[in-house]
Symmetry: C2
């Protein structure tokens, strides 16, 4: 974890940012009160029980957010890419983190001080509404996941995860290869299954021509079929 003293303006200035509604002066406050840090692949950014210090924005790299369940079994509940936020739930709920975040690629994150953020929310109604809307979407996602992870069968769960990975990270230039390279274990932890079953089911999908696999590179060959497997459950 190396401190860097550059400004990663993108976290605040990118076109999809909730901070777009801020005035130039307000943005300036944020830019002044943020710190940037570098994390190596595999590093823990925060873990269950830690106290949140501020709003974390991912400037570079990818992150998995997970909870540990029965017997330490890991369930991935979110994945983040630039310029998404992580750990904001605990920040606003007031307590400590109830999930952990680990870099799945080398990452740069920047942290905005909590006090500054709260002050901005209090004074800028549009920012408030943006944050409320973000939470509402995230809650909808979480509720949907609860149902599909409990009700769908292995094939449906894995298919849904692959679609989720596409929705989140998109494809490479070939318009087919998922732009994220996860271990089979991570794919399993995302899909609520054992690593063996993730491996096995990925192989089955490949033999059915739905995807093709080359190490951690997953190519979606038949998006429609994948969607159908996901929908069937």
């Amino acid at each position: 974890m190396v401190q860097k003293n550059f400004k990663c303006d993108n976290c605040i200035e990118n076109k999809d940012s909730v901070f777009n509604v801020l005035t130039p002066q307000e943005k300036e406050q944020l830019l002044k009160s943020h710190t940037c840090t570098f994390f190596k692949k595999g590093d823990i950014i925060f873990k269950e029980g830690d106290r949140p210090s501020g709003l974390i924005c991912l400037s570079e790299g990818k992150v998995k957010v997970f909870k540990e369940g029965v017997g330490g079994r890991e369930q991935i509940i979110r994945m983040a890419k630039p310029f998404g936020f992580i750990g904001y739930r605990a920040l606003f709920a007031g307590g400590n983190y109830i999930s952990s975040a680990v870099a799945i690629e080398d990452c740069t994150i920047c942290v905005v001080e909590k006090d500054i953020l709260i002050r901005l929310i209090r004074t800028n109604g549009d920012l408030s509404l943006g944050i409320i809307q973000a939470f509402a979407s995230e809650l909808g996602f979480s509720n949907s996941r609860t149902v599909t992870l409990t009700q769908k069968h292995i094939r449906g769960r894995l298919a849904e995860s692959l679609i989720f990975l596409h929705d989140t990270f998109g494809y490479e230039q070939d318009d087919a290869t998922l732009k994220v390279y996860l271990s089979r274990e991570d794919i399993a932890n995302l899909s609520n299954m054992t690593t063996s079953n993730a491996i096995r089911t990925l192989s089955t999908f490949a033999s059915e021509g739905v995807i093709s696999i080359d190490g951690r590179k997953i190519k979606v060959m038949d998006h429609y079929k994948l969607q159908r497997i996901s929908d069937l459950g």
Copy 2:
């Protein structure tokens, strides 16, 4: 669904309300712009796909909020009692409802117009923060549920549900009987299991002296043991 033209001030004025931070004038606006409605036990308050018209507050009765999953199988994701809100996620996310709400007792609900609410959020920072905090808590709950419903075994899931019912609705005067009377099917749909298994496992708990059952009346005899079953998974 009978229209009633009384004012159910409690939704806005009760001591735990997020609206407590409003000025008297702001409260007056809310009171003027709300409508109250009566629902019989079993009535649908809203269902998946409906468009939210305003913020729904439960003034009397109890409500289950659920999603339909694979093959129409119902998963209860929330339960509400006075003076809790329901359906606010869709309201703020902007789309239609992705869950349904059904009265499990005769209910009175009041609805605050969306526009008024948005206007208040825009101008009152403390209200914004209160709503953001409510969302953050709810999201934490949902994430935790995802993990326990997928990872815990039947006994653990049922035990957790009973504890949840206690946390939400409390005990009767005897300090042991759950203050909510659900069908075995609802208990099953809350705990992600079949009705048969809910019935069976409740019986087992009773024979172990953890609870005692009399129809839909569930008495918690050994709260510590119940917590242990839940924790073990």
